[in-house]
Symmetry: C2
Subunit: 357 residues, 2 copies
Amino acid sequence: MSKSVLLLPGDGIGPEIVAEAEKVLRKVNEQFGLELTFDSALVGGSAIDATGVPLPEETLSSARAADAILLGAVGGPKWDDLEMARRPEKGLLGLRSNLELFANLRPAILYPQLASASSLKPEVVSGLDIVIVRELTGGIYFGQPRGIRELENGERQGYNTYVYSESEIRRIGRVAFETAQQRNKKLCSVDKHNVLEVTVLWREIMDELSKDYPDVELSHMYVDNAAMQLVRAPKQFDVIVTGNMFGDILSDEAAMLTGSIGMLPSASMNAAKQGMYEPCHGSAPDIAGQGIANPLATILSAAMMLRYSLDAEEAAKAIEAAVSKVLDQGLRTADIMSEGNTRVSTAEMGEAVLAAL
Amino acid sequence: MSKSVLLLPGDGIGPEIVAEAEKVLRKVNEQFGLELTFDSALVGGSAIDATGVPLPEETLSSARAADAILLGAVGGPKWDDLEMARRPEKGLLGLRSNLELFANLRPAILYPQLASASSLKPEVVSGLDIVIVRELTGGIYFGQPRGIRELENGERQGYNTYVYSESEIRRIGRVAFETAQQRNKKLCSVDKHNVLEVTVLWREIMDELSKDYPDVELSHMYVDNAAMQLVRAPKQFDVIVTGNMFGDILSDEAAMLTGSIGMLPSASMNAAKQGMYEPCHGSAPDIAGQGIANPLATILSAAMMLRYSLDAEEAAKAIEAAVSKVLDQGLRTADIMSEGNTRVSTAEMGEAVLAAL
Ligand SMILES: CC(C)[C@H](C(=O)O)[C@@H](O)C(=O)O
Ligand SMILES: CC(C)[C@H](C(=O)O)[C@@H](O)C(=O)O
């Protein structure tokens, strides 16, 4: 049975890095007889330029129909002055919410070949391998009411609503416990239980769920402490679960601990395991079009896609092994370049992965 | 004219570290003829134990009457199961809000003598000296409505409100611009302008204010990127300004970059420059009563108090010089101990500072 992949190159370096990932996908498609079909569509700034909106109807229906989606990145200074509803980010947020991609998995893994890229001391980060499970379709990102209103005294007030229901917490909690079960069986739930009522409910539900996963050791941590502990001793963590906003902040912090955010993939899944896969880094408009961006995070996102949404574990492993091999060969794009290695372009890196497959 | 200082030892290691800071304050009081008077009161868990509430009326009125307040820390596992309204943290939050201590200054400074304590590479953090200006009486910490309600479908939903008015943003913005003026004239305002309406207003007001401070270079950064940049290259920052929740997270992350959070003071001030001063670290219940806590953050908080609320710059400088001297002497409490230095107790560290004065 054939499965369909929707490619959403997006903005900035998005098209360059997705092009390399597409080549890699087409190659494993043949090698492993996966019967994948490919389609592509516009999202973000490029969709705004072509159609006036960041998430055209056509893109949304292609996305709904696809078995999996590979996204590059969205956004850039060109669209920075648009009002919020018309910004490129709304394309991304619209996909997440329309497809109910509530479970965002963001691994922070230190590749031994790139250990020196970290700003942390080697002993603090060597062997780092944690996963942040971020709730992605709720919380303050989507809470109503929201806006800017005028107060009686004539001044304006901005407001947003941070909101989670039991069922929203429960479903992301289950994903997190299951992720921990497949790893080192340690789950840390991050909240601000001493200040925010919404996270009082969050903690209560996590405690309740933990009874169903007796093999997983659950702990709780305040978000401010988590931000500290990630810097102090990140290897204390296995899996972290948290809400949308805290997850946005902590997953970026965790990714940066590795020093090579150009290497980190992510997955966003719904209850049907349909997923959208994208690199953790952004659209990097400053280097767009120069052919120097690192395509490996996108290629590794394609591997995650094969594993989680396309039932093709072997192909996923093959890609991951190929990436490891090109790193062993000393090939480096500019962002991860260091002395003694060979600097390559986006396309050269893609070719090297193909050759290693 | 005499000035009054209210001591709020609080919980955990609070009483031990405030005792040392009090000795130091009494000494400079004599040396510099400051005419300070001292009083003390209960707050947090110790107030709950004695009176049933975390912020007794008597404490609040003493706090209102004081020229400045020195706080140890509040909270501990003993009170963790209380409902939110009766928790020790409400004592702290109640003081902040009742006294309108909206401006929280949190320096993250790396002491050269303690450079090796950082988990970051020396070249990334050596000479680090940044200040986070955190809004402290608004935002999601105090926003209404808040709570846990039952939805029509029978499940519960937690909710909090993230809210800022123009005038709240403006007053913290002014403090931040003025702080930057006295330093390296670089201000980075941190928001989530691409997702949260309240921070669209935040950014607009910061831009507007920047016209009044042409000598300060204002930049904007998303909170997720700020969490990354603090790890990647923290020395790019001079002053950071942000809201209550983001400030809670980023100031703890920034503090931990130094590796010695036991060294970092903080100030919380209102429009009248009345202030509450406290160490950045918490109540550390695990080591309470053992006489091993580091009193230096509290002693340095006392120095900040002298500088900002008691108009005693000379005395503040004397304390800071004394702290630097004891570090040069190789004296270290357990948290900052490293090879080749001399381990001392809380009281010994306090005595050493007194002797160095
Ligand atoms: C682009 C932005 C809306 C997005 C987010 O905040 O979720 C990004 O930072 C991310 O983490 O995927
Ligand atoms: C104790 C807690 C309520 C407090 C806060 O979140 O503000 C603390 O973390 C701080 O940063 O001073």
